[in-house]
Amino acid sequence: MEATINAHMPGLVARVTVSEGEFVKKGQTVAVINCMKTELAVISEYEGKVKQIVAKEWDEMDVGSSMIILELDEGKLGHV
């Protein structure tokens, strides 16, 4: 199963702090959005492996733009 981490604020992608294949914990910062010159952390609500990084540095984000696709850990789905 997959889950997508979306931008919660509009702005520009300042950086993505995880790489493909990396295991992400719930509550972990996966990217940073620069909104009005303020850096806002994008936090994962899920636990899983980074399958694809959609957002690139300096991409323009709207609220809800997809940033990162995670492959969820089947065994832990109940906790998500």
């Binding site: 604020m9 509009p10 702005g11 520009l12 909104c35 009005m36 010159k37 303020t38 806002l40 300096w58 323009e60 984000m61």
Partner: protein, 451 residues
């Protein structure tokens, strides 16, 4: 005089500069990013030029694109406003090398001033007091550990080429040193392209007071009073006023003298600001030079009845200041409240569409509003959150405060959050009314609200 000025900026300051150009019958050209293509102020200029996508690195900070725009519209001068490339000496040099006038200090002076340590060295040479700390910059963590004991904690670690409240962090405990160092270094790399640092002893509960000056090529330097800028959030100003409720006339004269000495020693021409810190025990220390038109310049303009942008343009065109210090009349009291598109409690950014907008209704001799917003327009997430500056003036400080409260209460901006509620809280606080506050006022008020 210039025939056409290109404004290398956006938003309220672009509009502000357009106004003076129109008063002087100088044609204007504005640059805009894709995201700004519908900005209404673009209709107020003679020519517009698209310089790239929303990302400021590819548009308003894109030197090549802007130089190209300058050539295309055949501008003979460039006004950089504040922020973006306004204090970038290599951009200024590129402008000049294209045979176009830079409306600002000479690029060589800008280059020197970019280094805070250079300024500290000049200041100490001409006997202007500086905040205790290192004068030479350093580049390594080892050196940082070595110099801290000389001054004792708490100290500020600052980037030699930082600015705008970025690249400054306090070190309160020795075990924070490494983390602070790494954070400041990263900001330096990302935002300023330089990681040179210096150390400054923290002045406890300081007030931030600055002198606006104008100088010309024949060495005349005129001071236009001080601005009290202690009311800040996130190291950035939110309310400014002139005169400061704490600066006495003899102190003002001393600050003027410091300013003149620094301006002469630097060879500065044009409009600028010298920032000072005032310690609790009433000592003043030189902090930095702002080599640009500042956000809060309207406070001084409104109080002095002057147009600083006009003076900048005249000096850049080779003219000299045709008035003297004695001609500067600063009567009454002026206050500016910055309205940011931010949550008024945690200052989180709040971009979005302005669904409803109503400006305050007040006679123009009491109220000035600098802005570039319109009903239905969108406050973009890509740029600064400052959306409007409300400036009032009246005979006394208390009357000016009352005017400001009236204006802010009558200013309706819907669809986004703004800092108007915290602006009002500041104006209402006993500390502010008594004129008895320092740079921690906003924090204190927020704590009080939470309690």
């Amino acid at each position: 005089m210039f025939k056409k000025i290109l404004i290398a900026n956006r938003g309220e300051i672009a509009r502000r500069i357009i106004k003076t150009c129109r008063d002087l019958n100088i044609k204007t050209a504005a640059i805009y990013s894709d995201a700004d293509k519908d900005a209404f102020y673009l209709q107020e200029v003679d020519e517009t030029y698209n310089i790239g996508p929303a990302n400021p690195l590819k548009s308003y900070l894109n030197r090549e694109a802007i130089i190209n725009a300058i050539k295309e519209v055949e501008a003979d001068a460039v006004h950089p406003g504040y922020g973006f490339l306004s204090e970038n000496h290599s951009f200024a040099e590129a402008v000049v090398s294209n045979g176009v006038t830079w409306i600002g200090p000479p690029p060589k002076v800008m280059q020197a001033i970019e280094s805070k340590c250079y300024c500290r060295e000049i200041a100490s040479r001409v006997n202007v007091p500086i905040i205790p700390g290192t004068i030479a910059s350093f580049k390594s963590l080892d050196e940082l550990y070595k110099v801290i004991p000389e001054f004792g904690l708490p100290v500020f670690l600052k980037l030699d080429k930082g600015g705008g409240g970025k690249g400054i962090e306090v070190i309160k405990e020795m075990d924070q040193v490494k983390d602070v160092w790494e954070r400041v270094l990263r900001v330096g790399m990302v935002a300023f392209g330089s990681t040179d640092c210096y150390l400054e002893k923290q002045v406890i509960n300081p007030r931030h007071i600055e002198i606006q000056f104008l100088s010309d090529k024949v060495g005349k330097c005129i001071c236009l009073g001080e601005r009290e800028c202690s009311t800040q959030r996130k190291h950035q100003k939110i309310i400014e006023e002139s005169p400061s409720p704490i600066v006495e006339e003899k102190e003002r004269q001393a600050l003027y003298e410091y300013t003149r000495k620094l301006v002469m020693a630097m060879g500065y021409e044009g409009a600028g600001t010298i920032e000072f810190l005032r310690s609790e025990d009433g000592n003043y220390y030189f902090m930095e030079v702002n080599a640009r038109l500042q956000v809060e310049h309207p406070v001084t303009e409104f109080l002095a009845g002057m147009d600083i942008v006009k003076c900048q343009i005249e000096v850049a065109a080779g003219g000299t200041l045709n008035f003297n210090q004695e001609d500067v009349m600063l009567e009454g009291h002026a206050i500016e409240a910055r309205v940011y598109a931010e949550d008024p409690v945690n200052f989180a950014p709040s971009p979005g569409k302005i669904s409803n907008l109503k400006f305050p209704n007040m006679e123009s001799r009491y109220l000035r509003i600098d802005h570039a917003i319109a009903e239905g327009s969108t406050v973009l997430p890509y740029y600064d959150s400052l959306i409007a500056k409300v400036i009032v003036r009246d005979a006394t400080r208390l009357e000016a405060i009352r005017r400001m409260e009236e204006a802010l209460l009558d200013f309706k901006i819907e669809g986004i959050k703004t800092t108007i509620p915290i602006n009002l809280k500041i104006l209402k606080s006993k500390e502010y009314r008594d004129g008895n506050f320092n740079t921690s006022l906003v924090e204190i008020l927020l704590e009080r609200i939470k309690a």
